[in-house]
C-alpha cells in the first residue's frame, strides 16, 4: 500500500510539472468537465488536451469515464488525499497561530505599557 502510494506520488509530481496540467487540476477542483470543455478553456486541440489528461490519469490525479461520446474528467484520489492532509495540517497551524496571536497581543500591550512608563 505504501509502495503503491509512493509510486503514485512520483507520477503525481511529474504530472504537476506542467502549467497546463496544473491548470486542468485546478479547473477540475472547481467542477468536473469533459475533455472537449477543457480543450476549449485552455485553447488547445482535442488531441493536445487528451495527452495532458492522459498524463494526469496515469498519475491517478484524474479519473475519466466515457459516457456515450463524451469523456468526463474529475479529480482522482491521491491528489484529494494529499489535499485533505494539507487541509488538516493547515487547521493545526491555524489553531497554533490563534494561540500565538494571543501571546503576541499580550507582548505588544506590555511593550506599549513599558514605553509609556519610560516616557513619563
Amino acid at each position: 500500500m505504501v509502495q503503491y502510494q509512493q509510486a503514485r506520488f512520483d507520477a503525481s509530481f511529474a504530472a504537476l510539472s506542467d502549467a497546463t496540467r496544473r491548470g486542468v487540476l485546478e479547473q477540475l477542483g472547481r467542477a468536473d468537465a469533459s475533455i472537449t470543455e477543457l480543450a476549449d478553456r485552455f485553447e488547445m486541440t482535442l488531441t493536445g488536451m487528451k495527452k495532458h489528461v492522459g498524463v494526469l490519469e496515469h498519475a491517478g490525479l484524474v479519473v475519466t469515464e466515457k459516457v456515450g461520446r463524451v469523456r468526463h474528467c474529475r479529480l482522482g484520489r491521491p491528489l484529494a488525499q494529499e489535499a485533505a492532509w494539507i487541509e488538516k495540517h493547515r487547521q493545526l497551524w491555524e489553531a497554533r497561530f490563534t494561540e500565538l496571536d494571543a501571546v503576541v497581543e499580550e507582548l505588544k500591550r506590555k511593550e506599549q505599557a513599558d514605553g509609556r512608563n519610560t516616557r513619563k
Binding site: 505504501v2 485533505a84 494539507i86 497551524w93 497561530f97 500565538l100 505588544k108
Partner: protein, 174 residues
C-alpha cells in the same frame, strides 16, 4: 496597500496557508499584527513558545520544553498523549538564530528522515509575515509524513491532527 491610513487598521485577513512547494518542501505562512521582534520573541522564549505550540483544543500536554534558541543551541520538547503510554520527545538543534528575522532548526528525533525547518519573519507596516519552510531530506520522507496523516478515515480528523501535532515538521513520531 499603501492607501490605508495609519489610524484605521487594515481589515485583518491573516489566513494560514499550507502548501507543498515541491517534492521535498512544505511551506506554512501566516501574518501577525505585531513587529517582527515581538513575534520572534514568542518563537524563541520557551515560556512563551509553550503557550501556543500545543493548542488547548488538541488533548496533548507538554511535559517539558527546553529551548536554547541560539545558533548551535538545542531544544527538547516532551509531550504526553492519552493514546500513547510513553511520553514522546522531539528534539534537535538550532543551526541559525538571527533575531528578529530568521530561525533554523533540525528535527533529529526521526533520525535521517527529519526535516530542516527554516522560519523567516518579514516585517512591513508594523505586521510580520512568518514563512515556515520544512525541507525534508527526500521526497519519500515527506510522502511518509503525509501518508501517516492520511491513512485513517475522515471521521478521525482529530486523531490525525494529534499525530501531526506531536511531530511538527518531523514526519512520523517514533
Amino acid at each position: 496597500m499603501a492607501a490605508t491610513r495609519e489610524s484605521e487598521p487594515t481589515p485583518m485577513k491573516n489566513d494560514t496557508t499550507v502548501e507543498r512547494k515541491s517534492e521535498r518542501e512544505l511551506v506554512v505562512t501566516r501574518t501577525f499584527n505585531a513587529p517582527a521582534r515581538i513575534v520572534f520573541e514568542a518563537w524563541t522564549r520557551p515560556e512563551l513558545f509553550q503557550r501556543w505550540w500545543v493548542p488547548k483544543s488538541f488533548g496533548l500536554s507538554l511535559l517539558s520544553c527546553e529551548m536554547d534558541a541560539r545558533t548551535g543551541g538545542t531544544y527538547r520538547l516532551v509531550f504526553s498523549h492519552a493514546a500513547s503510554p510513553e511520553p514522546m520527545a522531539f528534539f534537535g538543534h538550532y543551526t541559525d538564530v538571527t533575531p528578529p528575522s530568521r530561525l533554523v532548526w533540525t528535527n533529529d528525533e526521526g533520525g535521517d528522515g527529519g526535516a530542516i525547518t527554516t522560519v523567516t519573519f518579514e516585517e512591513g507596516n508594523g505586521r510580520t509575515r512568518v514563512v515556515m519552510h520544512d525541507l525534508y531530506p527526500s521526497k519519500a520522507a515527506l510522502d511518509e509524513a503525509i501518508a501517516s496523516g492520511s491513512t485513517s478515515g475522515v471521521g478521525e480528523t482529530f486523531d490525525q491532527l494529534d499525530e501531526l501535532l506531536v511531530a511538527p515538521g518531523a514526519g512520523v513520531p517514533r
